[in-house]
């Protein structure tokens, strides 16, 4: 990664697309303070991030909910870590569990749930902390297409009820355009921002329907051209690496 500079405004939904290995996940880890930049700095809510940013929520690509906790205990985790009394945390957790559509499953363990339900648990677990910045690293990549569309719509609805900024990493351009206010295209490594596109599609959006909007198609073609060039570069590099 080199010369990577971008800003995300308050309440903005920003999607990042880029070829494989261009440092999209690393970018999120830097914002979250899980990794430190070798040079430069990350500023979240006016504070330079040193060790663990405050006010940040993070949904990981793979399941990161705790397999030994029930749904309720999983969703409670954040508030309890932050010193909220147990009964308050549980009341909040119940609220969030029903908001993500899991009411009745409070006592289940993650291995008793489907992939989509586990994502819902992760979503509730993250949102209960009311993060000002929500980082998402291909959170729905492992889901089937129908479940994924459902989850995307639900995410948009939950987000519209909050004032959180979202940084959403994906390699699916359609998903990026359907969800975001702005799409950043990363170059192949070393990553910089190649181009930033404003997505002026009206809200509230329905992810399943917005894809048929002619403006969507236009945007898709323009961004795809950028993205394809970078993907080709990344691919050729990986071929070279395998050959040598």
């Amino acid at each position: 990664m080199r010369d990577l500079t971008f800003e995300v405004a308050r309440g903005e939904f920003c999607a990042i697309v880029g070829p494989t290995g261009s440092g999209k996940s690393t970018t999120l880890n830097l914002i979250a303070g899980l990794e430190r930049p070798s040079r430069g700095q990350v500023v979240v809510l006016g504070e330079v991030v040193t060790d663990g940013a405050r006010g940040v929520g993070y949904m990981f690509q793979t399941d990161a909910i705790f397999p030994w906790k029930t749904v309720l205990q999983n969703v409670c985790t954040g508030p309890l870590y932050r010193g909220v009394p147990r009964h308050v945390a549980q009341r909040q957790a119940h609220e969030w569990i029903s908001r993500v559509g899991l009411a009745g499953f409070e006592d289940r363990y993650p291995n008793q749930l489907s992939g989509g339900m586990r994502k819902r648990v992760a979503l509730a677990q993250t949102l209960i902390n009311e993060p000002a910045v929500l980082l998402m690293d291909e959170p729905f990549a492992s889901l089937d297409v129908q479940t994924r569309t459902l989850m995307e719509n639900e995410l948009l609805e939950l987000w519209s009820g909050s004032s959180a900024s979202v940084v959403f990493v994906t390699h699916d351009l359609e998903e990026a355009i359907a969800l975001a206010d702005r799409v950043l295209v990363f170059t192949a490594a070393p990553a910089t921002v190649k181009q930033s596109y404003r997505i002026a599609l009206p809200r509230p959006r329905n992810v399943a329907e917005v894809r048929f909007d002619p403006r969507f198609t236009q945007l898709y073609e323009r961004i795809w051209e950028d993205l394809r060039d970078e993907a080709v570069i990344a691919y050729e590099r990986s071929l070279k690496a395998i050959r040598s």
Binding site: A32, L34, G52, V56, G57, Y58, F60, T62, D63, A64, I65, F66, P67, W68, K69, T70, T77, G78, Y81, R82, G104, F105, R108, Y109, P110, N111, Q112, L113, S114, Q125, T126, N129
Partner: protein, 298 residues
């Protein structure tokens, strides 16, 4: 080192409250179920048949003089010995007393060994300096043939229970230690990262994330370590004791009583099997989030 079965994967059955109640089975399903039952019965029958064949062959060769019962014992003699010990007591006192002593030593050694093992494994896994400094000594300690220590412990601690417990602890400790250490080291970094983002401090990270995550490794070492605790107790009794199943074996051996040695062995096996079932139960209690099929043994 024993590896825990993965508890992240596995198909999730739709068992929510919105699943319709059992519908009547179709013919094909009923036939399949009957087939499964038949196969299950056959397997059980074969299990018993294997036992009968081995014991029968042994008894037969002892009866016909093919194997000298003085050296090899015979199943009927072993059964008679167990019955005599159970009803009229052993030459060294009532049977239950010996069983109780061995069990007490085993459980004490198991408990202490597991406790020290988990604490030490956890501490070394969480503290790099500690691991670097103490690591070689732990490996050295593990390399000592522990059974030899039995003699030292008898000299230090006498013929009583303490020497057997000490031997059992030295055997149990290392199994649990290495598993706890490995378990904490292999905690999915996704889980710790998630916990950190959610606001966990170092203490919460240790006890709310690392420990439960390592519990899979730790519980899967419990079977092995309980076996080692039992070995420690019996070997200790063998070396020098006044009570216990190992002492019974030693006494029977001294009297050239092959049936007696086998009888003590059978009792020991039964005790071990029951204890193993209890450990399985404990394992389920400790890790209720793991699907039952994955902790099931045959």
């Amino acid at each position: 080192m024993t590896k825990p079965s993965s508890h992240m994967s596995g198909p999730s059955r739709p068992s929510g409250p919105d699943v319709p109640p059992d519908e009547p089975l179709t013919d094909a399903e009923a036939a399949e179920e009957a087939h499964a039952r038949r196969r299950h019965r056959l397997e059980r029958f074969l299990q018993v048949a294997v036992f009968c064949a081995i014991v029968g062959a042994w008894e037969l060769s002892a009866q016909t003089g093919l194997a000298d019962p003085f050296f090899f014992g015979k199943p009927s003699g072993i059964a008679a010995t167990i019955w005599r010990w159970a009803t009229r007591g052993t030459p060294q006192g009532p049977l239950w007393q010996h069983v109780a002593v061995t069990l007490e030593e085993t459980i004490l050694a198991f408990g202490i060994g597991v406790l020290i093992g988990v604490v030490a494994g956890f501490a070394l896994a969480r503290n790099r300096t500690l691991a670097t400094v103490l690591g070689p000594y732990v490996r050295m300690g593990n390399a000592i043939p522990r059974v030899i220590l039995g003699s030292i412990f008898v000299i230090w601690l006498g013929l009583g229970m303490a020497s057997k417990v000490a031997l059992g602890v030295t055997l149990t400790f290392f199994v649990v230690f290495f598993n706890a250490f490995q378990g904490v080291r292999e905690v999915d970094p996704n889980l710790t990262n998630n916990a950190r983002i959610l606001g966990a401090g170092p203490r919460q990270l240790s006890f709310d994330v690392m420990l439960p995550a390592a519990l899979g490794w730790i519980t899967s070492s419990l079977h092995t370590s309980f076996g080692f605790a039992l070995v420690g107790a019996v070997v200790g009794e063998f070396i020098g004791a006044t009570h216990g199943l190992g002492y019974l074996v030693a006494a029977a051996q001294g009297a050239f009583n092959a049936n007696g040695v086998f009888a003590a062995m059978v009792i020991l096996s039964v005790v071990a099997l029951i204890a193993d079932a209890l450990v399985t139960w404990l394992e389920r209690r400790l890790t209720p989030w793991r699907p039952a099929a994955m902790t099931q043994t045959f």
